[in-house]
């Protein structure tokens, strides 16, 4: 029986995952949901790279012969030429002192470098597909994972189910975030099979959890220096890692999935946007992602030499309106007054305006917040006794003022400035307060009037992730005073509901309550933007997740 139909007591774990560039992003690994309709906004680029499940064994192949199969084929104006061998160079924004994939969020980087791999991966269409695993059979609360034949570590040792089990155990031990996995039991009937029993209840997101980058499989016996040279299964192996600095990797001659095209990979540690841009223009790097608006402008002017890839992520920016500090009428007026389209117009390519937390064409996205309506916003305030005097709403002689808290990342501060201007024009005096990091400040001490935040709101086509992240009373992002018993009950009901139509109806009901409270104002939806030099390909640039990067088929740009 399919687990989704038996979703009696499913629990998804909200996994807070650090973005490559900072600490403040939440994403949820949840699965088995509705397949995500993904809008690909490929500006111009080369193409798909789902890891093929061709089994090629672990022969010690040598040298730089041409890449096997599926090399980059042309997109709209993609290059037909591909290069063989060479060193692929890119940049890494975040500096860190270790590359032990089980620690912190280091796996987000090591996986991008082609060093570590996991049992499953998320493909371009946000589906969970096998990687090191052949597949998974889920029966009630028991998941049976079969490993692929012929998978081996870079030292030639085969990957056994026992080793996978020990990796899970080490991850639980090293990372506090995976504590919940310690409640499960793991059995290895043979070398290729791992049986996971998820306690006494069904755990529908098991496959997704196994696709998290942190669950990288290492050779725990052969690795001596976990912090600097973990032995893993990826197409590249560590050549030199400088803590807080650059990392150089070389080809894994024992790669289990065919020959590796590039001789090596280098990721320079570089956090400055200007430097990245200039390094790309100087031809010092082949590709990088998370590019800025001005980079998009510059590179799109030169399509002969650069290919830009832009994929919408389900990452959204939004504002929380603190119900303890702002009266209902003010919150409603703010929600009605903000013009999201004009905010997005300043950041073309980076983001687009969004109505609510989910796409409107999703079954659970039928309910959306009210559209912008300045007149209505004015009426709401006037009904509450505010009067427009000298362009500012005042009540009892006090002008209406608000403070917008924000931080400087991914144009959040730009959004704040634009919001401030719109509010001032509307008649609400707004100030801006910039903090270094939201999680240590307003997200935890709740001391704000309006604050900006961003996170992935819809990961795999099911709103449960968002409910657990921000709607439930106990959730981390329930900071605007929305959480209430009634909604919690609906969410609990949603958890046990199997029928897709009923689920959609419930989800819309929950979101209706959420939007009605006017505690959250959804602003924009981000794109993942990457740029590649002509000839360079295989940077997972069409994947909406930044923790995928180079692979065996990656090619270097033409100088």
């Amino acid at each position: 029986m399919n687990s989704e139909e038996k979703r009696i007591k499913s629990r998804c774990d909200v996994v807070k995952i650090k973005q490559a560039d900072e600490f403040s992003s939440y994403m949820v690994l949840e699965g088995e949901g509705f397949s995500m309709k993904k809008k690909l906004l490929v500006v111009a680029l080369s193409t798909v790279m789902v890891v093929s499940s061709l089994l090629t064994g672990c022969g010690g192949s040598s040298g730089g012969s041409s890449s096997g199969g599926g090399s980059a084929s042309g997109g709209a104006s993609g290059s037909a030429e591909t290069t063989t061998g060479g060193v692929f160079k890119s940049v890494e924004t975040f500096a860190y002192g270790s590359i032990d994939p089980h620690k912190e969020y280091y796996s987000w980087h090591t996986q991008k470098y082609g060093l570590t791999e996991t049992l499953f991966r998320i493909n371009d269409d946000m589906e969970i597909v096998p990687w090191l695993a052949e597949g998974i059979e889920i029966e009630d609360n028991v998941g049976t994972i079969t490993l692929k034949d012929g998978i081996c570590f870079s030292n030639g040792n085969p990957v056994t189910s026992d080793m996978v089990k020990r990796n899970i155990e080490r991850l639980i031990e090293v990372s506090k975030r995976f504590n919940y996995m310690s409640e499960w039991t793991y059995e290895t009937p043979d070398d290729k099979t791992l049986v996971i029993t998820t306690g006494d209840r069904v755990y529908p997101t098991l496959k997704n959890d196994l696709a998290t980058p942190e669950l990288a499989i290492m050779d725990l016996d052969a690795t001596t220096d976990f912090d600097n040279n973990p032995i893993c299964t990826g197409p590249f192996v560590v050549d030199k890692f400088v803590p807080q600095g650059d990392i150089t990797l070389k080809r894994n001659d024992n790669y289990w999935d065919g020959e590796v095209n590039c001789d090596g990979v280098v990721f320079y540690s570089m956090s400055d946007d200007q430097s990245k841009l200039m390094a790309m223009q100087n031809g010092e790097i082949d590709a990088y992602d998370n590019i800025t608006t001005s980079d998009i402008e510059i590179f799109s002017a030169d399509p002969d030499n650069y290919t830009l890839a832009s994929v919408p992520m389900q990452m959204r920016s939004y504002a929380f309106l603190n119900s303890e500090k702002l009266p209902d009428s003010v919150r409603e007026a703010i929600v009605l007054a903000i013009d999201k389209e004009s905010i997005a117009a300043f950041l073309p390519g980076m983001m687009s305006a969004t109505e609510g937390a989910f796409d409107t064409d999703a079954p659970y996205g039928k309910v959306q917040p009210p559209k912008r309506d300045i007149e209505k916003a004015k009426q709401v305030l006037e009904a509450d006794g505010y009067k427009l005097e000298n362009g500012v709403f005042t009540k009892g002689g006090q002008p209406l003022t608000v403070t917008i808290s924000c931080y400087q990342s991914r144009n959040i501060d730009t959004i704040a400035v634009l919001m401030q201007e719109q509010l001032n024009a509307f008649g609400i005096k707004a100030d801006i307060k910039i903090v270094d990091e939201p999680d240590g400040t307003y997200m935890t001490d709740h001391n704000y009037e309006i604050c900006l935040y961003r996170s992935i709101t819809d990961k795999t086509g099911d709103p449960m992730t968002w409910f657990e992240l921000a709607v439930e009373s106990i959730s981390y992002q329930n900071i605007a005073g929305f959480g209430n018993e009634e909604t919690d009950k609906l969410i609990e009901e949603y958890r046990y509901t199997v029928d897709p139509d009923e689920r959609a109806e419930l989800a819309n009901e929950i979101m209706q309550q959420y939007y009605d409270s006017n505690t959250a104002l959804f602003l924009t939806c981000y794109n993942r933007n990457a740029v590649l030099r002509k000839g360079a390909s295989g940077f997972s640039e069409t994947n909406p997740f930044e923790f995928y990067g180079v692979s065996a088929k990656t090619t270097v740009g033409i100088k």
Binding site: F23, E104, S175, K176, S275, N282, E437
Partner: protein, 309 residues
């Protein structure tokens, strides 16, 4: 001489004690709970028990002085504590950053001295000539330039307009050139002005006039006597400039992504990594104190009279 140095070294002890106290107090007063920052950077689900446990683990539940003494005790053993961000020891990072900052500071000082002193002497000798006036305009402008303007200007000219320098050259000689140059420009301006003024003053002294009268060669007077006597004040300004450099290199390091102490401080402030900020500020201040000491000692070597004061 030795006595003087020992006396100065003993004087350092109370200064260092107050310094560490000050730096520690600064971070102690910082709003925000370090345990919360640490946990949120690890992505753990923050519960009250976990918070309490982390606070205990980090020693935050102890009194101010217990924490202060354990911090200072650690530093004496070369242990600056652990970073809040990645839980790695701070000391190796600091040392690496310090090496980069020192390399940058010494490169720009050497460049500046080599350019500025000849210019200063030349303009003093050829006072009010056309070259002197041109140099004066340049030094005056260089003196008033914000260091980010110089850095951005150099970057715009040599990295964007003419792509002379590679971007990825961190730590290498090539990568050192632009940041060193951008630090040198204001230094050259100050040095050249100071040298010119000092040499001019010496040239008006009685002994120079006397030597002229005795027919001693101009060049001999200039290099053997005038410059030697002017050295003291030139040294003062060099040491003052090094102080400015230690602090002022932050902006330059940030613009050119030079991985020095300044970049480290800015990155750490951004990530609320206060132990690293603490360590870095302490290191820079100690460096400054040592520079001051070295300056005083070299005065003493140049001019024995100071010892008497």
């Amino acid at each position: 001489m030795l006595k003087y140095i020992i006396k100065r070294l003993i004087n350092l002890i109370p200064v260092l004690i107050v310094l560490t106290l000050l730096v520690f107090l600064l971070m102690y007063l910082t709003p925000g709970d370090p345990a919360l920052i640490r946990l949120s950077s690890q992505g753990a689900n923050v519960t009250d028990e976990l918070l309490a446990a982390t606070r205990a683990e980090m020693g935050l539940d102890q009194s101010f002085f217990t924490r202060y003494f354990s911090w200072v005790g650690g530093i004496l053993h070369g242990d600056f504590g652990m970073s809040y961000i990645d839980d790695m020891p701070i000391f190796p990072k600091l040392l690496d950053a310090l090496m980069h900052t020192l390399a940058l500071a010494s490169a720009s000082t050497v460049v500046s001295v080599m350019i500025a002193i000849p210019i200063g002497i030349f303009t003093a000798v050829k006072k009010d000539s056309i070259p002197d006036n041109i140099v004066r305009i340049f030094t005056f402008t260089g003196n008033a330039m914000p260091n980010f303007l110089i850095a951005l200007l150099l970057m715009y000219l040599f990295c964007i307009r003419v792509r002379l320098f590679p971007v990825i050259a961190k730590g290498s000689v090539q990568g050192l050139m632009l940041p060193a140059l951008s630090l040198s420009i204001p230094m050259i301006s100050k040095f050249a002005r100071q040298t010119r003024a000092d040499v001019l003053q010496q040239l008006n002294e009685e002994y120079v006039i006397g030597m002229h009268a005795r027919g001693v060669k101009e060049r001999v007077i200039l290099y053997k006597n005038v410059l030697h006597n002017a050295l003291g004040s030139i040294l003062t300004i060099i040491s003052l400039q090094i102080r400015v450099l230690i602090g002022g290199s932050v902006v330059t390091e940030v613009i050119f992504r030079w991985p020095g102490v300044g970049s480290l401080i800015m990155d750490s402030i951004g990530g609320c990594d206060y132990p690293t900020v603490q360590g870095a500020v302490l290191i820079l201040a100690t460096l400054q104190i040592l520079v001051n000491l070295a300056t005083d000692i070299s005065y003493c070597i140049i001019d024995k009279r100071i010892e008497l004061e």
